[in-house]
Amino acid sequence: MEERRYRAVSGAPIALRRRQHSASCWELAVRGPRLQLRSLSAVTSAVWLAAYGLFVLSESSMVLSAAIFITLIGLIVYLHFVKIDQESLLVIGSLGIQVTSSYASGKESTTFIEMSQVKDVVINEAIHMQKVIYYLCILLQDPQDPQGVSEVVPLFQSSQPRLDCLMEVYKSCQEILEQRKTAPQSSGIK
């Protein structure tokens, strides 16, 4: 198991942790920066100052309790639905690829893609505003057309690592995807 530091597209520091469980199983996890106390207190004080200003104007204490309520609910919603702490990729040869996002509140949302549906894992370029960014994605096989691609599943969308980090992930994935090409094809498939 090794952990290395990289940078995201926006410049924030991220960490990549690679772990090889066996010859055909790699686990790769990208961890983004945690929620900073600074930004949390800044947002809370801004909201409460605005509420206090409204209270002074309107003389109704409902504004203050509403502000507290909004801050609490907003924080819970942000931690549970918006802030992604870690995104990980578990590649198991001949079973499939599992993509997990863990949120700051502990919730984990997982998708598992079977190996028969995976065509390839590639690094794509995209033009976003004034930048050119690279992103890793899984190409899914079209069941009707063996050469076609039915869907593109982008990975690491919230941590957005730069090319050097993506290359490491790409190499580990390709190591396992190569194995299924060299494995003897048994009769009955396709």
């Binding site: 066996s22 997990t100 997982t110 598992f112």
Partner: protein, 576 residues
Amino acid sequence: MVLKVFFPSCCSSAESGILIGRWISEQNSAVILAVVHFPFIPAQVKQYLSEVQQVTKIKVSVLGSWSNSKQEKEESLSEFLEDLGTIFSHEPWIQISKERDSKFWSCSTLQKQSNSSKEEEIILVYYDQRKVMLSHLHPPLDTTPSTDHKANDASKLAAMFDTVANSKILFMTDRYDDGPIKLTHWQSDGVEASIIVELMKQASVPACMLLTFLLSLTSAICKRRMLKVWPLPFLWSKLSTCEQLGHRLQHLQVISSNKKAQNQIQLMRKANIFVSLLIDVALGILLMSWLYRKNRIGHLADTLIPVADHVAKELQDLLQWLMGAPAGLKMNRALDQVLGRFFLYHIHLWISYIHLMSPFIEMILWYVGLSACLGLTVALCILSDIIALLTFHIYCFYVYGARLYCLKIYGLSSLWRLFRGKKWNVLRQRVDSCSYDLDQLFIGTLLFTILLFLLPTTALYYLVFTLLRLLVVVVQGLIHLLVDLIDSLPLYSIILRLCRSYRLSAGVKFRVLEQKHGKPLRLLMQINPLSYGSVVQTYRLPTYSCYPKDSWTSLCKKLFFGELIYPWKHKGEKQD
């Protein structure tokens, strides 16, 4: 290729024996269903397996051996297990062994005809047998259903789930049964069942028969010729209460049918309809008890007449305002007076009608309120119908205003064409030039001028009544939206997703367990439940109303030309 062994976690502590299950050769994976313990006679095992194969249509066979040694490893046992491989002759023969105090198992395969000398890698996947058996795998919603079944079987998970789900008969024998074969699986400690479920199953048969009888009686009454005399079917189709009652009757017919549900989707549909009906009736009875306590119905009836009076008075004030100089606009006095008096007379008729009905209102309302016990949706539909009846005069005014305005607009457009020397050719459906006589032109121009100068008055009346009508339509629309929501929400599926989330699965998720070098890779397979949005989308009950497909532009066009707008079209109604 990598060999995958799916091992049920309930068999981890079983005694030594042989493994039975299904071998899926296309995917090089073995799904282990149970462990058969010593002593056994191989011929009896083979016979039992062929019986199981006949019933379940799944190729269940002996896949390998399992040794759970509490003492030191015995050489003779391992030779004995290898010899079993020759008796049962399965290719490849899987040998799993577990030492007493180690959680890392060793797994090896014996291949008689091995093409390559390379050692195959083995992945051991633990799964919870009961959860996988009860779970229903939902394919992603956007996959196009392919007619080629081979493509479906290529999904490994679906094959594995099917294997476990269809092997229910294998799990029926537990270890307290006296038979030649002793198995270990998730139910080997005793078949579990619930008394309440069994009692309900027994009670449901006579209940269904009674319900079918009552329903046939009701439908026989509804089909009688007396009810098909002309004004009545028209009336029934306009009242939304009758639509809702017919819809609920259909639901009851689905529930009370004797045929067992063929597949999961039908079973869920029946369960959803049942729970939805139950909740509906419960809420309706709650509403009824609230209404009838403290004589609230009486109060409601008492306030109904004053409210209707108030609405009529407001309309009268509005008309007086229109007859004067509304918003500073100057109206054509004569037409204004005619239209205003016409509508005022209508309101007068309406008020008299309401006052005529007033002694009976309380009684009617009392009996109509009793029908809320049929369900909250029925009560809401009755409310919507009462609103429609009370605002009937607004509807009439809208129709008069719209027809007048429509006539005026068509007249104006036709005479405008005459003004320019053109004519509408009905045969060719286009505008052609035409030479008119002088007297035709003269009269046409006169009429055009008259209509043009009378346009603001008519347009204003039309505008005011259209706005009122749209207001009523919006209120009725909100009520119908609520009724549709209650009708179509799949409550049973949502509760199932909340309480027994493993039954509705969107897929699986794997967790890597502790590894040791040299031992096979160990993974734990858990069920990934379906998200709430997909649950609602998959199991939604169909409703009878379809919302108007008119876009905003066509609606505005209709309003501009004075065409009548029909907001609700029910499925099965002829389009106007």
